[in-house]
Symmetry: C2
Subunit: 231 residues, 2 copies
């Protein structure tokens, strides 16, 4: 990976812990409805509701709250209690108030790169939620530009690369989702490094094995430095 | 207003109808709870809940749905029915699916300015919701840049003006909210035109009379053209 001018980092589960918080909330939710349906079935129903709501409500915790309420109404067939609704909203709000926990090695890598190459944070989801996490993370000062989009696809990456005024092969994306961080960037002629996280939402999972000149797979974020020749 | 290089337009209730949809949903909601509380009292309770949720949930329809559910739970004191919750979620989703209705004269003004000066859309709220409205509006092609922020304040305008690479006095903001569109821009040294809309959310209302060299008040969007000397 020569001649890089910009390195963009995904945020959720690349810079900081995210998915485990959703899974934790989900677990509470499924336990709450155990009298009505086994936990794994509730889980499946919730996923169906979430996917059904995605086009209209998008990603993030607020959509998640609404999808949990809808799922609980279906599962309880009208016998939803005041306490359940309250618990679901509380779970969602607690999730929004969770601390931001940085992933191991992130600060070292960003410190090392900062000032030597332009660093960007590129994430999808809710504007306000992601801004709040960035502020809590203390990583804000490392980034030249923050890009928050409603969906990470070829179109949104093309727009970002154009905005940054670099060529696709001067752009490197680092992230944990093959679907959102890797494939669209490679398609555009950019570089991509995949760093898997132990927990991935079903919607982000893809079964592909990637063989590509401009692609690398790493196990720890510090390995990013091995592939970058700084100017 | 000489030497302008960028004109930024607010979106909701400046380019297209927005607030009446919220008020319509709110009216349905208050009527639904009439057995528990008079409509105007429900309205007040809802506003209190919304303001209480603003820092955590932000603006937009998803927050509005969650605030309505919370308010209904308080008002019914635990006697909330399945049907009520369903109705609230349906009202919110219907609102998201509403057509985008352009305000009178908007297309003519944008057509006239397009290609002669850089046009920007600058709005606050939910990323996905505002993007969807822009797509439905058919106005996308007029804008050089779209800025969607979680809050319109001095800080976010300073960032936008810096990003556009113009001086504050080369920037004009046109919008219906004195609080969000006018005051922060004037404070930064920019120009602002206020075009009131017949319905304004309580949170956006401010009682000030503005006297300022770089400020104008208009009644119809077409008057914008009277104050602009195009290059």
């Amino acid at each position: 990976m020569n001649a890089l001018k910009v390195i963009a980092f995904d945020a959720d589960d690349t810079l900081w812990v995210n998915e485990p918080y959703f899974r934790e909330t989900e677990e509470h939710f499924c336990k709450m409805l155990e009298d009505f349906l086994p936990q794994h079935s509730t889980n499946k129903e919730l996923y169906k509701t979430e996917i059904g709501n995605l086009d209209l409500l998008g990603y993030g915790t607020k959509s998640f709250i609404i999808s949990m309420i809808e799922t609980a109404m279906q599962i309880t067939q009208g016998n939803i209690s005041h306490e359940m609704i309250q618990k679901i909203i509380d779970l969602g709000k607690e999730q929004l108030n969770k601390p931001v926990v940085l992933l191991d090695g992130i600060e070292d890598v960003l410190s090392h790169l900062h000032g030597r190459i332009r660093l960007v944070m590129a994430t999808k989801g809710e504007l306000m939620e992601q801004e709040a996490k960035l502020m809590k993370s203390g990583l804000d000062h490392f980034f030249h530009h923050i890009e928050i989009v409603s969906e990470k696809n070829k179109r949104s990456y093309a727009k970002l690369i154009k905005h940054l005024d670099v060529k696709p092969n001067e752009f490197l994306m680092v992230g944990n989702s093959v679907k959102s961080d890797i494939l669209p960037v490679l398609e555009l002629g950019g570089n991509a490094i995949h760093i898997p996280y132990h927990t991935t939402w079903e919607h982000e999972r893809v079964d592909v094995s990637i063989e590509h000149d401009r692609f690398r797979h790493i196990e720890h974020i510090s390995e990013v430095l091995d592939f970058i020749q700084l100017p």
